[in-house]
Symmetry: C2
Subunit: 337 residues, 2 copies
C-alpha cells in the first residue's frame, strides 16, 4: 500500500480510515445483535447510560467533541425516541438530556455486544507488537481480511452463551470492584469518602476484617459485585451490590445476592442487614423477594448519607420461587441470635 510507504507522514489518513472501519465493524455487531443503533451514537448514549442525565455541553466536553455535534445528534436521537429533553429547573438555558425508559432497556442489554467489540479490537491491537505503526498495520490487516469482524461476532456468541459464574474475591479483580461501584455511585448518588476508602482498599478493609467480596462474571468478564462487610461477630452488612450497565436483566444481581446469603449462612452469621435508598425500586424488590424485610426505623449510626432504607434478612420470609440451583451450596440455616 502506497500510504504505508509514507510511514508517519500519512498517519492522518490511516487513522481516519481505521476509524471508519471500526465504526463499520461496530455497526455490523449491533446489527447482528438486532440493535438498531449506530456506532457514532455510542459516546453520547453510553455517557447518558453510565452517568445519567446530562446537558449538551457537559457531554460534548466529556466525549471531546464540539457542542454543535452533540446538539445535532441529540436532535436526531430525540426524533428517534432515544432521549428526551427536560428543561433544567435552575437554569433556563440548559436542558437535561435523558434516556427514555425504552432506550435504557435496550442499552441495558448491550453489554455482551460491547464486550465482544472490546475484545475483538483488543486482539487486533495486541497483534501488532512494538510500535504504533506496527499496531496500525495489524489493525488494517485485520480489518481488510475480515478477521476483526469475525472475531467480534465470535466473541459475542461466546459471551451470550456463557453462564453467569459467581467467584470469590481475587486480588486482580479488586480494580473491577472499584470501577463498577464507583460508576454506579456516580450514576445514582455521589461517592462518599467512606466509599472511596472501601473501594480502593477492598482487600484490607473487607476481606482482612472477615468480610467477603463476590464477583459475577460472564466468560471471564466481571459484570457485577457484592460485598459482605463484617460489622461485629455474626453481624454482616450486605453492601456494594452493583451490576455493570449493559449487563442488566441477565439475573446477575439475583445470583450475587443468593450467593451472598449462602455465604453469610456458611459463615454462621446471625444478623444480615443492608442499607439502601427508596430511589432504587427494582433492587428493593429483589431484596424483599430473597428474604429481606424493611425495618421501620433508620439504622442508628449509618455510614451513608444516601441511606433511607434499612432492611434485615429473615430467612423464613424468603419467597419460595427462588430457583433451586441457588441453594446448591450446602445450606446451613442458622438461627438468628
Amino acid at each position: 500500500m502506497f500510504l504505508h510507504s509514507q510511514a508517519e507522514l500519512a498517519l492522518g489518513s490511516r487513522f481516519k480510515a481505521i476509524s471508519e472501519s471500526l465504526y463499520a465493524a461496530a455497526n455490523a455487531a449491533y446489527r447482528d445483535a438486532g440493535a438498531d443503533i449506530d456506532a457514532h451514537w455510542f459516546p453520547v448514549l453510553r455517557y447518558l447510560h453510565v452517568k445519567g442525565p446530562a446537558t449538551v455541553t457537559e457531554i460534548a466536553a466529556a466525549i471531546g467533541q464540539t457542542h454543535p455535534a452533540v446538539s445535532q445528534l441529540a436532535a436526531k436521537l430525540r426524533k428517534g425516541g432515544w432521549i428526551t429533553r427536560r428543561a433544567d429547573a435552575s437554569d433556563a438555558r440548559r436542558g437535561m438530556l435523558e434516556l427514555t425508559a425504552d432506550a435504557e432497556r435496550k442499552l441495558d442489554k448491550l453489554g455482551p455486544v460491547w464486550c465482544a467489540i472490546r475484545r475483538g479490537a483488543r486482539a487486533a491491537a495486541l497483534r501488532g507488537q512494538g510500535s504504533l505503526i506496527d499496531a496500525l498495520t495489524s489493525f488494517e490487516n485485520d480489518i481488510a481480511s475480515g478477521r476483526l469482524a469475525a472475531e467480534i461476532a465470535h466473541e459475542r456468541e461466546r459471551v451470550l452463551a456463557a453462564p453467569i459464574e459467581i467467584h470469590p474475591f481475587r486480588e486482580e479483580w479488586a480494580v473491577h470492584f472499584d470501577r463498577i461501584n464507583t460508576e454506579w455511585l456516580e450514576r445514582w448518588f455521589v461517592v462518599e469518602p467512606v466509599d472511596r476508602e472501601t473501594l480502593s482498599n477492598a482487600k484490607k478493609l473487607v476481606i482482612d476484617r472477615g468480610g467477603r467480596i463476590l464477583f459475577a462474571a460472564l466468560d471471564g468478564e466481571v459484570i457485577g459485585t457484592c460485598a459482605l462487610l463484617k460489622e461485629a461477630p455474626g453481624v454482616y452488612e450486605l453492601s456494594k451490590m452493583a451490576v455493570e450497565t449493559g449487563f442488566r436483566g441477565l439475573g446477575a444481581g439475583r445470583r450475587l445476592l443468593e450467593a451472598a446469603i449462602a455465604e453469610f449462612e456458611r459463615l454462621g452469621g446471625t444478623t444480615l442487614f443492608l442499607e439502601s435508598s427508596k430511589r432504587l425500586g427494582p433492587a428493593l424488590r429483589l431484596y424483599e423477594s430473597l428474604g429481606f424485610v424493611h425495618h421501620p426505623a433508620p439504622r442508628p449510626g449509618s455510614h451513608y448519607a444516601r441511606a433511607d432504607v434499612y432492611m434485615v434478612y429473615e430467612p423464613e420470609k424468603r419467597a419460595s420461587r427462588t430457583p433451586a440451583r441457588a441453594r446448591e451450596p450446602a445450606l446451613r440455616v442458622v438461627e438468628r441470635g
Copy 2:
C-alpha cells in the same frame, strides 16, 4: 476523559479525533513553511510526485480511498492550478492527472517539512510504550499539550538549518540506497532486473567489488545516493545517482557528483563514464558542468535498456565555476589510460 474509560470501545472516535489533530498539525507545519497546501491533499500530491502522472482510479486504489474522493479532490486541485488533466491517448475514458511544473517545483522543496512531520509524529508514537492504547493516549496527550506541534516546528528548523553532508557507505543505510533508487526508477523508467539485483545487494555487488556508494544526508536523514561501480581496473561507472523527491534544489545532486568524482580520483581511476537518458535534462546539464562529455556512439554492451546517453569524464572540461570546497579532498589528477 470519558472516552478513555471506555477502553477499546470508543476506539473509532479516538482514531478519528487523532486523525483530525494530525491533519491540523501538518497544516500548521505547511503554513509555517509558507506552503499553501492542505494536509488532506498529501496522499494524492505525493503519489503524483513520487510515481508521476496517474489516473483517478489508480490513485484511489493506491491511497485506499474511493474514486469519487480522488475525483472531487482532483477537480479542486485542477482549479487551484496544482494538476492538469491530459486525456489518455489509448483509452478515452481515462485521464492522466499530472502535476503542473509549478506544483512540482513546490513539492520538490517540501522534503524538510515532511521530514519534520514524520519525526514529530514518530516521537509521539514512540513515547507510548507498550500497547496501542498507550500509544494513542500518548498521542492525544502530545496533541492536547501542543508538544507535537512544537516538535514538528523544531524539527523543521533543525532540518532546514542543517548542511548537506556526504557520507561513505554504511550497511544500515543500504535500505535507503534501495528505496531512493527504486522510487526514482519507477518514476522515470522501470526497474530492470539488473537494477533490482544491484539495489538489494549493494554491499556485495558494489562495495565488495571495489566500488563506492555515497550518501547525501540532511541532519541524519538520507536524501540522496550515488554509486561508483568498478568495471575493470581503473574503470568506473557513475551510477545510481538519485535525490529523494522533496529535497530537490538543495544542491545535493551536485555535492554527490563532486564527491563521487573526488573519490574516483582518490581511487586512482583512469576512466569514469556514465549512462543516462535524454529525458533527464537537468541531470545531463549537471554532468556536463562537472566535466562529463557526450560520447557520440552508444556504449557497447550497455546493461540498461533505458540508456541513450553515454558520457565520459574529462577533468579539463570541468566548468571553472565549481565551488572550491568541492576540490578539498587531496586532488590526484590521473592521466586517462
